[in-house]
Assembly symmetry: D2
Homo-oligomer: 98 residues x 4
Amino acid sequence: MSAGHCDRHPVLPRDRSELLERIRRIEGQVRGIGRMIEEDRYCVDVLVQIAAARSALDNLGMLVLEGHVKGCVAQALREGQGDEAVRELLEVVRKFLR
Amino acid sequence: MSAGHCDRHPVLPRDRSELLERIRRIEGQVRGIGRMIEEDRYCVDVLVQIAAARSALDNLGMLVLEGHVKGCVAQALREGQGDEAVRELLEVVRKFLR
Amino acid sequence: MSAGHCDRHPVLPRDRSELLERIRRIEGQVRGIGRMIEEDRYCVDVLVQIAAARSALDNLGMLVLEGHVKGCVAQALREGQGDEAVRELLEVVRKFLR
Amino acid sequence: MSAGHCDRHPVLPRDRSELLERIRRIEGQVRGIGRMIEEDRYCVDVLVQIAAARSALDNLGMLVLEGHVKGCVAQALREGQGDEAVRELLEVVRKFLR
C-alpha cells in the first residue's frame, strides 16, 4: 500500500502551514550550506550546519509521523485493517533509523 | 569556528562544483516535500521523501568530512597540532550520530 | 512507566523466546568486543563489531516496537485512549533516532 | 586493509580498563533487557532500555574511534600513507551513521 486509502487526512490545514513554514526554513538552511561552500568557509562549520539541517528534517519527519499515526494508523486499527498500516509504519520508522 | 586556521583549503574547485550540485538537488528534494504537503499526499510517501533528503544530507556530510580529514586534520597532525583537530573532528562526527 | 496499563501483553510466548535468543546473541557480541579489546585487536575491526551490535539492538528494538504498536497502541486506540499511547510511541521512536 | 599494520597501538593500558569496564556495563544492560522480557515488563520501558544500551555502544564507539584517529590515522598521515587510513576511517564512521 503506497497510495494510502486513508480518508482521514493526516495533515490538517493549521498543521499544514506549520509544516510548510518548517520546510521553507530547511530550504533556507540548505541554501545557506551552499553559500558556505561557495565562500570556502571552514569545513567544520559547514558540517555543523549540515547536521543542523538533518536534525530539522528529523523533527519535520516526527511531526508528519505523528499526524500519520493519529490519523491513518489509528483509523486503520479501528477498522480492523491495522496489520498493513502497522507494517508500513514500522518500515518507514526503520528508514529514519539509518 | 574554533580551529579554522587551516590554510590547506579542504574544498578544491572541482569538488566544490560537485558539492554545489548535490546541494541543489537536496534543495529540490526539500521543495518537493513542500509540494507533497500542499497537495495533501499520503503521509508515508512524504516520510519516505524526508528520509531520502536526510540520507542525501548524510552523504553530503561524508564528502565534506572526507575533505576535512584529508585537508585540515592531516595538516594539523603533520604540524603537531593534531589534538585540537581530533577533538573537533570527533565532536562533529558525534553530531552526525544523533 | 507512564502508561503500562496495557492488558494485552505485547510479547507472546513464541515471540518471547525469539527475543531472548536475539538478546543472548547480542550479549555474545558485546562479550566478543571485550575480548577484542583485551587481545588488542585492530581498532577498525573493533568498531565494525560495535556497529554490528548496535545494529542488532536496532533490530531488536524494531521487533519490540512492532509488538507494542500491534498490542498496546492498537488497544489504546480502539478504546479511545490513543492520544497518550501515540505521544508515548513518538517519544520512544525519537529516542531511536539519535 | 582489515588487519591494520599500525604499530602504535591505539588502546593504552589505562584506556583499556576503562573500555572493558564500559563493555561490562553494556553487557549488564543487555542482560537486564532479557530479564525485562522474561518478566513481561511494559514494552515502552523495554524500548527505553534498548535505546540506552544503543547509546552506550555509541559512546564506546566514539572512545575507540578517538584512540584510532589519534593513534593509527595520525601515524599513517605522518608517514604519508594517510589516504588508505582516511578511506577506512570514513567507511567505519558511515557504519555508525546508519
